[in-house]
C-alpha cells in the first residue's frame, strides 16, 4: 500500500513553547488512521498544520501528500488537494437547509455567480444517498439530531471531493447508536477508497475501526501501532502510550460506607418544555444514600439531563409534580438559588455552554455559585476569602494552571471540568449531581475526576452521576438506575452490573411501552 500522506519532522512552536516537536505521521492510502493522545498533546495542532490553518512557513518540517511536498497557505489550499477537516464543533449553519449546508463555500454556479438550486439539490441528494442517508435535502439542519448533523458534515466533505478526511472527535456528541452508524459509514467509505484520520478519546471505537494508531504525547510521536503487522490493538497499550504510565485500574478503588437516605424523589412528573401537553418524565422515583454514588444510565434522549435540571430549581420543564425529600423532610426547590441554599449542586453536561464563564478567570468561576452563601457579607465581596478558597480547591483537585487569574478559556478540557467541579464543591453540597463529568477529556484527567468523585462520596456526600459512557458508569457507581423514554426502566445493584444487562432493561422497557 502506498502512503498518501507523510508528515516529516513537524515542529511548531508558539512563542518558544514547542507544541509539536519533531512529529512524524505516516498515513497509508485507504486506511483509517487514528490519532490518540491526551488533551493538549498536540493532535489538533498537528491537524491544523496539515489542513493549512497554520500556513506553510509557520512550522518546520515537510508535509508530503500524494508524493509531493505541499505548501498550504490556508484551508482553501488544502481542500483543493482533497484534504478536508471536520472539527469537533460542527460548522453547520442551523437555519439553512441540508442542501445549502452541504454546498456552502462550494456552491454550484451557473452564469458566473448565480447559484444553481436544482443542481444543488440534485447533487446534495446524490451525496446523501452515497452515505446511506435518506433525508429531505430541504430540511433545516436545526431540525436534525446530532448524529444526522455529523453525517451532513461528512456529506459536505465528500461534496468537496475529499480524498483525505480528518475527523476531530466525531462521536463525542453522539450516543452509542449514532456513533455506531457513523463508524459503519467510515468503514464503508474506506471500502470505497477514502482515507481518513480520526482523532478520538474513545478507545473502544478506535480499536474497532482503525487500521493504524499513532499515539502522541507532549508534542512527540510515541509510536504507531498497525493492525496488519500483527500488532494487536490493545487499549491498555494505547493508554500507556498516551499517559506515559500503565493504568492498572481505570477506576480508583473506593470503600463505600453507605449510610441513610439523603435525597429521595417520589412520583416526579415533568411536562415537556417545547410541548407542555406531553410528559417528558413520568412518575420517576429514586433515592440516593449518604456516601453512595448512584449512576443514571440510558440512551441519549432518555431524559436524564432533563430529570436533573427539573429537580435543580426547575431549570427544565413547563411544570412538574411529585415530591422531593432531603434527609427525610419534604422540600421544594423553586429556583437555583434555593437549590444552592439547600445544599444541592448540579454540574451541567456541557461545561463551555452551561458551566463556565469562559472569559472570566479561575477564581471568579469557582466562586460564582457561592457568592451569596460564602464569599460576601451584606452584598460586599470578600475578595481574600475568594482567593484562598480558589487556591485551596485548585490544590485539592489538582487544577493545572499558572495562576488563579488565568482565564478558563485557555485551560484544557480536563482542567476546565475540574474548575466546574470545584465551583460546585465550594457550594458545600450534600447532594451532588454530575452530568457527563468526563465528556471530551483525556484518560489521565478522567482518572483524577473519578478520584474526586470517590473522595466526595467518602466524605459523606450523596452523588448522582449521569453518563453515556457505560463502562465509566459501571466502574464508578454503587447502584444504577436505568432511564428510558422518561421512565425508570430498572435498577441494578452492584453485583448485577453488566453492560448487557443495562441494554436488556432498555430493550424490554421499550418493548413493554410499545405493546401498552
Amino acid at each position: 500500500m502506498d502512503n498518501i500522506l507523510e508528515m516529516r519532522h513537524i515542529t511548531k512552536d508558539f512563542s518558544g513553547v514547542k507544541a509539536l516537536d519533531d512529529v512524524n505521521l505516516v498515513v497509508r492510502q485507504g486506511e483509517i488512521h487514528a490519532l490518540c493522545g491526551e488533551n493538549g498533546a498536540g493532535k489538533s495542532t498537528l491537524m491544523n498544520v496539515l489542513s493549512g490553518v497554520y500556513p506553510y512557513g509557520s512550522y518546520t518540517g515537510d508535509i508530503v501528500y500524494k508524493g509531493e511536498v505541499q505548501k498550504f497557505s490556508d484551508i482553501k489550499a488544502s481542500e483543493k488537494t482533497g484534504i478536508v477537516i471536520i472539527h469537533q464543533e460542527l460548522a453547520l449553519i442551523p437555519l439553512l437547509t441540508v442542501a445549502e449546508n452541504i454546498f456552502i463555500g462550494n456552491e454550484n454556479l451557473k452564469y458566473g455567480q448565480v447559484i444553481d438550486w436544482e443542481e444543488t439539490q440534485r447533487k446534495a441528494a446524490e451525496v446523501l444517498k452515497s452515505i446511506g442517508m435518506h433525508e429531505n435535502v430541504n430540511r433545516k439542519v436545526v431540525d436534525l439530531g446530532m448524529g444526522q448533523q455529523q453525517m451532513i458534515e461528512i456529506a459536505k466533505a465528500l461534496a468537496k471531493n475529499a480524498k483525505l478526511l480528518i475527523l476531530d472527535e466525531p462521536t463525542s456528541a453522539l450516543n452509542d447508536e449514532e456513533s455506531n452508524t457513523l463508524l459503519e459509514l467510515l468503514l464503508k467509505l474506506k471500502q470505497q477508497g477514502l482515507t481518513s484520520i480520526m482523532i478520538s478519546h474513545k478507545l473502544n471505537e478506535v480499536s474497532r475501526v482503525a487500521d493504524s494508531i499513532t499515539v502522541i504525547r507532549d508534542g512527540h510521536t510515541i509510536e504507531t501501532i498497525q493492525r496488519d503487522h500483527g500488532d494487536p490493538i490493545d487499549e491498555n497499550r494505547i493508554i500507556k502510550g498516551m499517559v506515559g504510565r500503565e493504568l492498572t485500574n481505570r477506576y480508583p478503588e473506593r470503600h463505600a460506607e453507605i449510610g441513610e437516605t439523603v435525597f429521595e424523589v417520589k412520583d416526579w412528573t415533568v411536562q415537556d418544555e417545547d410541548d407542555p401537553t406531553r410528559e417528558r418524565l413520568s412518575h420517576i422515583s429514586f433515592n440516593v444514600k449518604k456516601g453512595e454514588v448512584v449512576g443514571f444510565a440510558g440512551l441519549m434522549g432518555a431524559g436524564r439531563t432533563e430529570l436533573a435540571m427539573s429537580l435543580f430549581g426547575h431549570t427544565y420543564g413547563a411544570g412538574s409534580r411529585g415530591k422531593i425529600f432531603k434527609h427525610g423532610k419534604e422540600i421544594t426547590i423553586p429556583d437555583v438559588q434555593s437549590a444552592i441554599d439547600q445544599h444541592i449542586a448540579y454540574v451541567p453536561e456541557d461545561r463551555k455552554t452551561y458551566g463556565l464563564v469562559l472569559i472570566d478567570d479561575i477564581k471568579w468561576n469557582m466562586s460564582l455559585a457561592s457568592l451569596k452563601s460564602r464569599f460576601s457579607e451584606n452584598g460586599i465581596l470578600k475578595a481574600d476569602d475568594e482567593i484562598h478558597a480558589a487556591e485551596d480547591y485548585s490544590k485539592k483537585i489538582n487544577v493545572k494552571a499558572d495562576s488563579l487569574t488565568q482565564r478558563v478559556e485557555s485551560l484544557s478540557g480536563g482542567n476546565q471540568q475540574k474548575v466546574v467541579l470545584a465551583k460546585w464543591m465550594l457550594s458545600d453540597p450534600d447532594v451532588l449531581i454530575l452530568d457527563e463529568p468526563t465528556r471530551g477529556i483525556d484518560v489521565g484527567a478522567k482518572y483524577e475526576i473519578y478520584t474526586v468523585i470517590n473522595q466526595l462520596a467518602e466524605s459523606g456526600k450523596a452523588v448522582v452521576v449521569i453518563s453515556s459512557d457505560m463502562e465509566e458508569l459501571l466502574g464508578l457507581s454503587d447502584r444504577i438506575y436505568v432511564l428510558n423514554e422518561g421512565e425508570i426502566a430498572g435498577e441494578l445493584q452492584k453485583e448485577e452490573f453488566d453492560q448487557e444487562a443495562v441494554m436488556r432493561i432498555i430493550m424490554a422497557h421499550s418493548a413493554r411501552r410499545e405493546t401498552a
Binding site: F14, V357, D360, L368
Partner: protein, 467 residues
C-alpha cells in the same frame, strides 16, 4: 519537560501585561490627545476656564456612561437615554417654571421619571424578553416625542439660579493669593487628599498582592502609575483652583464614579453583571436570576438618565425638546473606547470614564479650533472605530504573544497614535505657518514627540512580533 515549565510564565505575563497595558494605553491616549490639542489651540484648552468647561460639559456624558457600562457589560446598549434626558429635564423645567414647585421636588420628579422609564423598559426586557436594542430604540422615539409634546416644541426657561446651581454652581469657595495668582483652597486641598489616597491605594494593593502570593509589579511601574495619576489629578484641581474652585457637578460625578467602581469591583450584584454578560446560561445555572439583573440594570440606567437630564437642564438654564440629542451615542462610545468588550462580560468603570474624557477632550478641542460640528462627528466616529479595532487587534491571539516585559514608557500604543499625532502636528504647523516666530519652536517639539514615537514604534513592533 523544560518547555512545559516555561509555558505558564510567558502566558501569565502576557495576560497580565495586556491587562495593564490596556489601562495605561487609554490614559496615555487621553494625555496625548489633550497635548495635541494644546499645541494646536495655542494652549487655549489648558486654560483654567476651559478646564472648568471641560468638566462641566462632560459631566452628563460620564453620568450616562456609568449606567451604560452596566448595559454594555451584558452585551447590550440603551438607545433611549438621550430622549429620557430631554423628557425628564423638560418635566423638571415645567414644574419649576410653569407651576412654581419647589426645586428639590422638581429634581426628585425628574429622577423619578427616569426610574419609571427604567421600570417600563425593564418590564419589556426581562418579563417579555424583547431584545433591549428594540425596546430602547422604540423608547428613544417615544420619549423624544413626549419631550416635544410636553414642551410644545419650545424651549422652557429661564430657570431660577437655585436650580442652575446643580449644573453651573460651585462648592463653597475660599480664595487666597499665592505669588500673585488667586487660588481656591478647597480645590487644592481636594487634589492633595486625592493624591494621598492614590498613593495609599497603590501601597495597599501591592501589599495585598504580596500577601496573596500574586506577582507584585515592579516599584518603577508603581511609581510611574502613581506619578501619572497624581499629576493628572493635580493638573485638574490646580486649574480649577485658579478659576472658580470645585464645580458642584464634579462632586456629583466623583461620588457616582466611586460608587459604581465599588459596585462593579466589590459587590455581589457587580459580579453577577459580569457573569451574565460573560455567559448567561452558566450564570443562570449558578443561581443568578438573569432577568432580575437585566431589570435592575435598566432601572439604574433610567435613574442616571433622569439625573443627567437635571444636570443638563440646570447647566443650560432651560429645557429644550432637542436636549440630549445623540447622548446615547456618546455614552456608548465612551464605554467601547474605554475597552468594554462588545459581546459583554468585560469592561471597567475607569475605562468608561477615560473613554468619556477622550470624547470630551476631542469635542472641546475641536470646538476651540473652530472645526465645524460635521467634521467633529467624523473625527469622533473614526476615533471610536480605531479604539475598538486596536483593542480587538491586541486581544486576538493570532497577533502573537507579547514578550514578558513591557514597560509603560515603551509607548506601546505607538504605531497608530504616532501616525495620527504626526498628521496633526504637521497640520498644526501648516495652519500656523503665518506666525513664523513660533514655527521653529513648534517644529522642535513636534519632532521630539515624533522621535519618541518612532522609538516606541520600533520597540513595539519588536515586542509584538509574531512568534
Amino acid at each position: 519537560m523544560m518547555s512545559q515549565a516555561a509555558t505558564p510564565d510567558v502566558h501569565s505575563n502576557f495576560k497580565e501585561n495586556l491587562k495593564g497595558l490596556k489601562e495605561y494605553g487609554m490614559i496615555i491616549a487621553l494625555v496625548v490627545i489633550y497635548a495635541i490639542f494644546a499645541f494646536m489651540s495655542d494652549f487655549k484648552n489648558v486654560s483654567p476656564m476651559n478646564v472648568n468647561n471641560l468638566i462641566m460639559q462632560n459631566s452628563y456624558v460620564i453620568v450616562l456612561a456609568l449606567g451604560m457600562l452596566l448595559c454594555c457589560l451584558t452585551g447590550n446598549v440603551d438607545l433611549s437615554v438621550g430622549s429620557v434626558v430631554a423628557f425628564s429635564g423638560a418635566i423638571a423645567a415645567i414644574m419649576v417654571v410653569d407651576y412654581q414647585m419647589a426645586i428639590p421636588l422638581a429634581i426628585l420628579a425628574a429622577i423619578g421619571i427616569g426610574l419609571l422609564v427604567g421600570v417600563w423598559q425593564g418590564f419589556f426586557i426581562s418579563k417579555l424578553g424583547v431584545a433591549p436594542f428594540i425596546v430602547t430604540l422604540a423608547n428613544m422615539l417615544v420619549f423624544r416625542g413626549l419631550a416635544l409634546v410636553v414642551l410644545n416644541g419650545q424651549t422652557k426657561g429661564p430657570l431660577p439660579q437655585e436650580f442652575t446651581q446643580i449644573g453651573a454652581g460651585y462648592m463653597p469657595q475660599f480664595f487666597t493669593t499665592i505669588g500673585g495668582t488667586k487660588f481656591e483652597l478647597l480645590a487644592l486641598t481636594a487634589g492633595l487628599l486625592l493624591s494621598a489616597l492614590i498613593v495609599f491605594m497603590e501601597i495597599r494593593s501591592r501589599r495585598n498582592k504580596a500577601k496573596n502570593g500574586f506577582e507584585v509589579p515592579s516599584v518603577g511601574a508603581s511609581i510611574f502609575k502613581v506619578g501619572v495619576s497624581v499629576a493628572i489629578v493635580n493638573f485638574f484641581t490646580v486649574k480649577l483652583a485658579m478659576y472658580m474652585g470645585l464645580p458642584l457637578v464634579l462632586m456629583i460625578v466623583a461620588v457616582l464614579v466611586a460608587f459604581y467602581a465599588f459596585l462593579t469591583n466589590r459587590t455581589v450584584p457587580g459580579r453577577q453583571i459580569y457573569a451574565v454578560g460573560g455567559n448567561r446560561k452558566a450564570a443562570a445555572l449558578s443561581g443568578i436570576k438573569v432577568n432580575k439583573v437585566m431589570f435592575w440594570i435598566y432601572v439604574n440606567m433610567g435613574i442616571l438618565a433622569g439625573l443627567a437630564g437635571v444636570i443638563l437642564t440646570a447647566r443650560n438654564a432651560s429645557a429644550t425638546p432637542k436636549a440630549g440629542d445623540m447622548f446615547e451615542m456618546d455614552a456608548i462610545a465612551a464605554c467601547y473606547i474605554g475597552g468594554t468588550a462588545v459581546p459583554g462580560g468585560e469592561g471597567t468603570v475607569t475605562g468608561a470614564v477615560v473613554g468619556a474624557l477622550i470624547m470630551g477632550v476631542l469635542n472641546n478641542g475641536m470646538s476651540l479650533l473652530g472645526w465645524s460640528v460635521d467634521i467633529q462627528r467624523v473625527v469622533k466616529g473614526l476615533v471610536l472605530l480605531a479604539a475598538v479595532a486596536i483593542d480587538l487587534h491586541f486581544k486576538s491571539k493570532k497577533n502573537g504573544y507579547l514578550r514578558p516585559v513591557i514597560r509603560p514608557w515603551d509607548w506601546s500604543l505607538a504605531p497608530p497614535i504616532s501616525r495620527l499625532c504626526w498628521l496633526m502636528v504637521r497640520q498644526a504647523l501648516s495652519l500656523r505657518a503665518a506666525s513664523a516666530g513660533r514655527i521653529s519652536w513648534k517644529m522642535a517639539s513636534g519632532l521630539i514627540v515624533w522621535r519618541q514615537f518612532g522609538r516606541g514604534f520600533r520597540l513595539a513592533t519588536q515586542r509584538w512580533q509574531l512568534t
